[in-house]
């Protein structure tokens, strides 16, 4: 299988704290990986580094076999835009924008025209089961619906990797299952998904589970 993200001897310090200790990890294309571990184990830090949101203190990160230069902020931002889709515990939707407008924000950055972006955005809202809610503002949607808009936004740029940081942390079990089904469907369509969670039964629904403790991968 082809490696999409490769970490080699990744260390991360935040202040004096040693968050990640010599982490080596390969993520393969088309995998649905979950990362579990107690809080403070470094799972979110690891996820942010893989998602190019944060830079490691030392070590190398390769995406599609290319070494990432974290000094080149512009290139990092571009890679995030085209390769990654983010879903967080909180939806981080922009309140001033409608559901559809929130979904097309990444497309606009790419230079897609507003009308074209909107037609693409509609498809993704349909995909997450929110057709008809395009013109609602985020605060007019339920928690589950908000999170699904966030997923549609993460998908709109057709990224290869979905980075999900406790995507169901704020959802009830029904909505949690809806989100998980969406993820599984996406995985089937070939997306690589990396999800941080602390719920074992969610982790069990993925292809591979990585457990972390004290900044190290234990299994």
């Amino acid at each position: 299988m082809k490696t999409i993200i490769k970490l080699s001897k990744i260390n991360k310090f935040i202040g004096q704290e040693h968050i990640l200790k010599d982490v080596d990890l390969d993520i393969y294309k088309g995998e649905f990986v979950s990362i579990i571990g107690p809080s403070g184990s470094g799972k979110s830090s690891l996820l942010y580094i893989m998602g190019l949101l944060d830079s490691p203190t030392s070590g190398n990160l390769y995406i599609d076999g290319n070494l990432i230069n974290f000094k080149n902020q512009r290139e990092i931002a571009r890679l995030r835009n085209i390769k990654m889709g983010f879903v967080f515990q909180f939806h981080y939707l922009i309140n001033e924008l409608t559901a559809l407008e929130n979904v097309i924000v990444p497309l606009l950055k790419r230079g897609v025209s507003v009308s074209k972006a909107k037609s693409i955005g509609r498809e993704f809202l349909y995909k997450v089961g929110l057709d008809g809610k395009e013109d609602r503002k985020p605060y007019e949607l339920s928690g589950g619906q908000q999170q699904r808009v966030a997923i549609a936004r993460a998908l709109s740029n057709n990224p290869e990797v979905i980075i999900a940081d406790e995507p169901t942390g704020n959802l009830d079990s029904k909505n949690t299952q809806i989100v998980m089904e969406i993820f599984k469907q996406l995985n089937k369509e070939g997306k690589t998904i990396i999800m941080v969670t602390h719920e074992l039964d969610l982790a069990n629904q993925t292809n591979r589970t990585i457990s972390m403790k004290d900044g190290k991968i234990v299994s």
């Binding site: 979110s44 942010y48 998602g51 949101l53 944060d54 902020q73 512009r74 931002a77 571009r78 890679l79 995030r80 835009n81 085209i82 983010f86 967080f88 515990q89 909180f90 981080y92 922009i94 309140n95 001033e96 924008l97 407008e101 924000v105 990444p106 606009l108 950055k109 230079g111 025209s113 507003v114 936004r153 740029n157 940081d165």
Partner: protein, 416 residues
């Protein structure tokens, strides 16, 4: 650029009240600038134009010089040493000799439009029981027109009467008013410094709008004046009109060097006023600057507030791939939008106030007399107003925007 405008517009228009307040601030600043600048420059330009027209661009004069250290008497004796100094003006004749040569010489030079001789002195004008002192200017009506625009200020255009009737005079409108003369053809008695007296007929009024001149001036034919004061053929002042008024200082120096006579350019003659105008301008621009600074703080405030409230949105935008530059632009555009909208409303407001001011009819009496406000409605002030609004809003929004771009998205995602 679409992505920046898209988000910036949504952010700013969701805050209608704050945006309205900050736009109002900018528009008041811009309108104040336009109105103040046009009022002040209108008045100053009017004053300077009138002054230039009235006082000749360059005047050649005979300047009385005091000779210092002139010992009048010296006592010298035992225990006594005393000098008595006199500060009386040197006995110098108040006259320009060979003035015909000077006039014909400079008339030929390309920088000069015309020259005219004057004989200037003081006199007492008496009408019934009232007496007023006046500055008498003896003019040659034909040559005078080459060097000044006297026709513009003479109410009935009767200057030629000075030629036909040697005992006719033109007096300042306010001087006439002070003497109680309200109609033409009244007769006044003029007493000259040498003691001679004559009866003169008022054939016209001189009305320049500048109070100090209208209150004191009296024109008569130079020949009459020469005859009355027993100074036949004498001239003590030559006025010069130039093609380019801005060359006055340079040319005045040149004439002074060549002829040896004292010269006075209009800038020198009105030095006090020009100085005063400068200070007036500084004060006005400082006030307007203060208004603009306050309105800039309005913009600064709203952008800063949006940035503080939008930390999460900024974080997600960065995660999505928006660069630091994009974030700076998103917030700077909002500031600029405030500035530009404020500038547009401000120019409209400024135009409206100008219209209103120019429609007001009041009698202004002071340094100048006018009916209503004198406005200089130059387009330039609008341009400056808009540029100021633009620059100020850019400056005001830059810091908050820069702050926004420095946010670290990870910090925000971690804290939830």
């Amino acid at each position: 650029m679409t992505h920046i405008l898209f988000i910036a517009l949504k952010f700013i228009f969701e805050r209608k009240r704050q945006t309205f307040v900050s736009i109002t601030g900018v528009s008041i600043g811009v309108a104040a600038f336009i109105v103040m600048a046009s009022l002040m420059n209108g008045f100053q330009k009017y004053f300077i134009e009138q002054a230039i027209d009235l006082n000749a661009h360059i005047t050649i004069k005979v300047k009385p010089q005091t000779v210092e250290d002139k010992i009048v008497k010296r006592y010298y004796g035992e225990d006594i040493i005393a000098d008595v100094y006199g500060a009386k003006p040197e006995e110098k004749k108040d006259k320009i000799t060979n003035y015909r040569f000077i006039i014909s010489k400079y008339s030929k030079e390309p920088d000069f439009l015309g020259l005219a001789p004057h004989l200037v002195g003081q006199a007492i004008v008496k009408y019934s029981t009232l007496e007023k002192s006046a500055t008498v200017i003896g003019i040659d009506p034909i040559q005078e027109r080459n060097a000044s625009v006297i026709d513009k200020f003479v109410e009935n255009g009767n200057i030629n009467t000075l030629l036909t009737d040697r005992n006719s005079i033109i007096i300042g409108k306010l001087l006439a008013k002070d003497l109680g003369i309200d109609r033409l053809n009244k007769k006044v008695i003029i007493t000259f410094p040498n003691g001679s007296q004559g009866v003169f007929k008022v054939v016209d009024f001189f009305n320049s709008g500048i109070t100090s001149l209208d209150q004191t001036r009296l024109y008569m034919n130079i020949r009459t004046y020469q005859a009355m004061t027993n100074r036949p053929g004498e001239v003590n002042e030559i006025i010069i009109k130039l093609k380019d008024v801005n060359k006055a200082e340079k040319l005045a120096k040149k004439i002074e060097a060549e002829t040896g006579y004292y010269t006075e350019s209009w800038q020198k003659a009105y030095k006090n006023f020009l100085q005063l105008f400068k200070i007036q301008n500084y004060i006005t621009y400082m006030i307007v600057f203060a208004i603009l600074v306050v309105s800039a703080f309005g913009i600064f405030n709203i952008i800063m507030m949006i940035v503080m409230e939008k930390r999460k949105d900024i974080a997600i935008l960065m995660a999505i791939g928006y660069e630091k530059d994009d974030i700076i632009k998103i917030f700077t555009v909002q500031g600029l939008l405030n500035g530009v909208l404020g500038a547009i409303i401000g120019t409209v407001l400024g135009y409206g106030i100008q219209e209103w001011l120019s429609s007001i009819q009041i009698d202004v009496e002071g340094l100048v007399r006018a009916k209503g406000f004198i406005l200089d409605r130059s387009f330039v002030y609008y341009v400056y107003g808009v540029i100021f609004a633009f620059v100020f809003s850019l400056l005001a929004s830059f810091y908050p925007s820069y702050k926004a771009s420095k946010l670290n998205p990870v910090d925000i995602f971690r804290s939830g």
